[in-house]
């Protein structure tokens, strides 16, 4: 039984955790480049140099003493996002959509006081959300107003798009839809839905919710498949370019689509999860091996790489 399933996973080309770590992350991602992707502030600066759009940065907080000046900074902003620079898996991120007299309104509708917010910020600074427990910095960014295309299939929050890029070639993509359980966050382990995307056309495929395959959003009841992701081609190109600036071979590129600004680079992930395979009903390993066997001239420019990926990984021509 065990051997049969193992055999079958191998035939389908599913990538396991051990192989991902040993043969892709450890082999392709040099240790020295990790700070670039683990620190969102560094990623942002790098992206700006490459003219890759990111959500506008309002302010960074480095020391507990800076919190006092926060009021002034946030004065003109109705909505914003609080983010730890080195947080993992979406932890420590607070989306604020509005102020009231009692305090800030979170994306979930919950109201948190000024004190709660500063407490949260000082927690971030102490490093409670950072990867190694080191002292951290806080980013205050513009809140993204997502493109309405996913409104019918998101419960509050901002859906984001993850594209896995190997050696500069987009391999697989999915859109992550927040649910009530995920508190407006687009992280699968918090209960968001992942929906696979056809690399060729940018149309959504099936969804995965807590390792179950779903076709409807659990909160809104609308079908998640068959949606056309806007700006798909340019997002593929953005992902392919974003990887070039880091020197990493295997990355997850997370993007959001702002209805005014278009696609924005949110963050890079040097250890992208494997759930994307379920959302796409497709194994990553098979595609990664295809890239390794590809002729070297396809790697010349991001445009060529994207064109090759669209041709090779398109699901069908419907």
């Amino acid at each position: 039984m065990i051997f049969k399933v193992t055999r079958w996973l191998k035939d389908v080309g599913i990538l396991g955790m051990n192989r991902r770590n040993a043969e892709y992350i450890m082999r392709c991602n040099p240790r020295s480049s990790f700070p670039l992707v683990d620190d969102k502030l560094l990623t942002k600066r790098l992206a700006e140099e490459q003219q890759i759009p990111t959500p506008p940065l309002y302010h960074t907080i480095e020391y507990h003493g800076d919190i006092a000046r926060l009021k002034k900074v946030l004065d003109g902003q109705r909505d914003f996002v609080v983010k730890p620079a080195r947080g993992a898996g979406g932890s420590g991120i607070v989306l604020v959509t509005d102020h009231t007299s009692e305090g800030f309104v979170k994306q979930s509708g919950e109201v948190i006081s000024w004190k709660d917010l500063t407490y949260h910020i000082s927690d971030i600074l102490s490093g409670i959300y950072s990867l190694e427990g080191l002292e951290d910095r806080v980013l205050l960014e513009a809140l993204v107003h997502p493109d309405p295309i996913f409104d019918a299939v998101s419960y509050r929050g901002v859906p984001d798009i993850r594209i896995i890029v190997y050696r500069g070639v987009p391999v697989m993509g999915m859109v992550r839809l927040p649910t009530r359980a995920s508190d407006g966050k687009a992280n699968l382990h918090r209960g968001a839905i992942g929906v696979g995307i056809d690399i060729g056309k940018g149309k959504t495929l099936t969804g995965v919710h807590r390792s179950r395959i779903v076709t409807y959003h659990p909160d809104t009841g609308n079908p998640v498949s068959g949606l056309q992701v806007p700006y798909w081609e340019s997002m593929l190109l953005m992902a392919a370019r974003a990887v070039d600036m880091t020197g990493m071979g295997y990355l997850g590129v997370d993007m959001v689509i702002d209805w005014e600004r278009g696609p924005l680079l949110l963050e890079l992930n040097a250890r992208p999860g494997l759930q994307i395979q379920i959302a796409n009903q497709m194994g990553l390993h098979r595609r990664l091996e295809l890239i390794d066997r590809a002729p070297s001239d396809i790697f010349s420019t991001p445009k060529v790489r994207v064109a090759w990926a669209v041709e090779k990984f398109k699901v069908s021509d419907f």
Binding site: I2, V5, T6, W8, L9, K10, V12, I14, G16, M17, N18, R19, A22, E23, R27, G89, S91, K115, D116, Y119, S122, D123, S126, G127, I128, H189, R190, G191, T206, V208, S211, R212, I213, L274, Q277, I278, Q281
Partner: protein
Amino acid sequence: MKRPAVWLAVVLLFLSFAFISYRILWLRYPAFPTAPGKAWQLHMEAYIKADQKEISVMIGLPHTDAGGIVVEERITSGKLTLNLLREGPNQVGIWSGDVGPEEEVISYRSTIHMAHPPSSRAKPPKPEPYPASVGRREQALAERLVRKWSQLGPPARLRAVAATVAGNWGVPPPDDQDLREWSAFQKKHGRPEALLVLLRAADLPAQPVEGLYLIESISTSLLVWIEVWTGRHWENLQPETGEIYRKSVSFLPLTTGGLPAVRVSHGQLSKVRWTLTQQIISHWRIHFERIKRSNRLLDRWSLFRLPPEFQGTFRILLLVPISALMVCILRNIVGFPTFGIFMPVLMALAFRNTGLSYGLGIFAGVVVIGYLVRRWIDKLRLLLVPRLSVILTLVIACITVFALIGNKLGLREFMAVGLLPFVILTMTIERFFIITEEAGVRKGFWTAAGSAAVATITYEIIHLEPLQLTFFVYPELLFAVAAFQVLLGRYTGYRLSELIRFRKLRSPL
């Protein structure tokens, strides 16, 4: 990529194997150090009284070359000085000095492991000349008496010679004159010596031995028997009756070659007693003393040379890498989540004092209390480090209260928690809280269950005494453990949990 790792593993395995083979084949270590072996405990106690001031008592003692392995010797000498001396094939303890008018007690205690068959004594002795007290005429007489058996093989010859002690001279009987002369000789020198002369005449190497029956017993006098070499092995002969002991009867020789086992000058033994008891001990203990005395490099660098108070620690420490290997297997092959990587291992080490069930219980209790307090503390907006300090204080307080409750209920295990690593508990509470907050209570409990499982497995492993001893005797097994760790490091196959996780993919594809 894969090959260097495999080569490293092979080299490590080879190193481990080479060291162990060297120890077993050249240094004669036990292949199964924990297999139980039978050993005898000999206890000799003697009361001595001096005639004059200076007394000297010489007593034959068992020693390692005499066929067994003697370990853990303990000798008391009272006011006397003790010397251990080699006298021919024997080891003799000499107690000498001034004891005054009072009785003095000396004692000797040792554990003896009898090898089967006694290896060092398996060689036949060189033929010895007749004793000086035996004249040429008597030699000729003895040779005449046994001549008719010279065609027989040694065992049969021995039986024929032995039968003469009971007066059975076989057919044809020797002539009456010779027989009369022989009984006179027997009377003059005693039966044992006469028998030895006859055995010498029959070309059967033989020697008188003093010692004890190897059975659980208390004896006040020693046994004398004659060992006869019959070509392949020794046979034992009762010198007074000529009876040949059956193979199943074994002896503990104290002196061989005719030396009396007990000699006293200028005094006497008022009482002497030998006690033999049997005990079951593991092979490693039998080899323990030998390793301690050996001069071979690996023996000198053996863990047995550590002061005993540190040995216990290393018996546990050497097994920790196996636990780490278990963590590797559980995480990378099975895919079970745990808090931290080696935290369960540290948990298991902490359970050593309390026992497993109490340890897990106390651990769970403290974590639950800590979790509830942590939830409440979350509202207080404490900074990270002070918050962790508060939880640490809480953990210590919990442990203290548990100890007080344990004292009231008479449960020692509750008090033994003192060494439970409180830092681990503190971090577990914090991690448990964060996991339940971020990924749900279910994930939190699964992780807790994974940690408890690893801790339990680890606890069981480090408490397996046979494994402890095996690693203690052969610390090079660590190379082998490292080899498996290296191999696991290159395992890129699926985890068991992934078979379940990606099972969902199966139907649509």
